[in-house]
């Protein structure tokens, strides 16, 4: 069984394993814009970005655009997708709207980009959990067959983000469940709604690793069963965000 944390030297809550297994299963299946093999290749590219010479050089440069070259990656992904995965993984604080628009001009649609963001974020966080506990990384899943659905939510529209999103009042039909009926949703909760399943996956992982998204904006409220107080959780969250130079 994947993510069998019962073998770990640490007592790891069961919901960590459940959430990580559920994501691995989802990762292997066709998404909206990438098939299973491509989604797993995105996950592999996240891991190869860590040892990528071009990413390391760019990270040191005054501006990432000053360094040209090829990323270390031998996967099945188009070059533009590899660039997206590596930059989001290794240098997220210096991304720009111009860069995202440039990816679109090279053929990476806004929705495929959002699906990519979701996969990168999930794999980075699951791998980071393992690293934080000194555990070996879980082998990537075997891709399942099938084609991407091509689903683009009709209610998605341009907003304040670089990519279209679904506003809470427009979350109806297939997207009724997306925001748990909340009238106000933090921007980070709406950010990937152009690919609704990416939002759902974010919610499941957050509930295990952090707290349920429905109570994030309620300071002082905590997820039952946590060994950390809410303030202790937010201290860790704030420190990690600050070191990543994340303004949001």
């Amino acid at each position: 069984m994947v993510f069998s944390y019962s073998d770990s030297v640490y007592p790891i809550r069961a919901d960590f394993g459940e959430a990580h297994r559920a994501y691995w299963h989802e990762l292997a299946r066709p998404g909206c814009w990438w098939n299973g093999a491509e989604r797993v290749a995105i996950a592999a590219a996240v891991r190869s970005a860590r040892d990528c010479g071009l990413c390391a050089e760019r990270k040191q440069a005054l501006t990432p655009n000053a360094v040209q070259g090829e990323h270390a990656d031998a996967g099945v992904l188009p070059t533009v997708a590899v660039e997206a995965v590596h930059r989001i993984t290794s240098d997220p604080s210096r991304l720009s709207k111009a860069w995202v628009d440039g990816l679109a001009k090279q053929g990476l649609s806004d929705a495929a980009y959002v699906e990519t963001v979701g996969i990168v974020g999930a794999v980075v966080s699951i791998d980071s959990f393992h690293r934080n506990l000194g555990l070996p990384l879980e082998p990537l899943p075997k891709p399942e067959g099938g084609e991407p659905s091509g689903y683009r939510p009709p209610s998605a529209e341009p907003g304040e983000a670089w990519v279209p999103w679904i506003r809470p009042e427009k979350a109806s039909g297939s997207e009724t469940d997306l925001y748990f009926g909340m009238a106000r949703v933090p921007h980070v909760g709406m950010a990937m709604s152009l690919v609704p399943d990416a939002v759902r996956a974010m919610g499941r992982l957050s509930e295990a690793q952090y707290i349920a998204l429905a109570i994030v904006a309620m300071p002082g409220r905590n997820q039952p069963g946590r060994a950390l107080e809410r303030a202790q959780i937010e201290l860790v969250a704030g420190r990690v965000s600050a070191l990543n130079e994340c303004f949001y």
Binding site: L95, V100, A122, V124, A161, Q209, R221, L235, V236, N244
Partner: protein, 144 residues
């Protein structure tokens, strides 16, 4: 902001500067160990991470250390979602945190350009309105 407000909800005062300056005492119980572990998670070597993992476990217990490992991992994801989609701060947060952001120095982060500048008048109103905002948040959280 969630750190500061989490304390305020319980009548405690925490210093949010600890997130940008590890030498500042947050006032959060076991804050020093938590900040050291979170720092090692992002920037530390495997050896440093192991050292702070053990220190946190010794201070708070293994369950708390595992929870902290999960939170730190989760925010490696959240920062990438926020930065890769260019989301601005939510408007009320932008208005109510003008002073806090200046204090923490995070307006210098590159992604700050995604959030429109808050005018001086609105920023002043935000400062004045903080007690009301706090009461609304408490009501929202079902704790008042």
């Amino acid at each position: 902001m969630l750190l500061r407000e989490s304390g305020a909800m319980e009548g405690r005062v925490f210093d949010p500067r600890a997130v940008t300056d590890a030498s500042v005492a947050s006032g959060v119980p076991f804050g020093e160990e938590l900040v050291a572990f979170a720092s090692a998670s992002v920037t530390g070597s495997e050896a440093e991470l192991a050292q702070h993992r053990e220190a946190l476990e010794a201070a708070m217990g293994v369950e708390a250390m595992v929870d902290a490992a999960g939170v730190a991992a989760n925010f490696e994801r959240m920062v990438r979602i926020a930065d890769a989609t260019g989301i601005p701060l939510d408007k009320p947060v932008a208005v109510f945190t003008v002073g806090l952001r200046q204090e923490l120095g995070i307006d210098a982060f590159g992604a700050a350009r995604n959030t429109p500048k808050v005018g001086a008048l609105l920023a002043a109103l935000g400062r004045l309105g903080q007690p009301l905002a706090r009461r609304l948040m408490a009501r929202y959280a079902g704790r008042s």
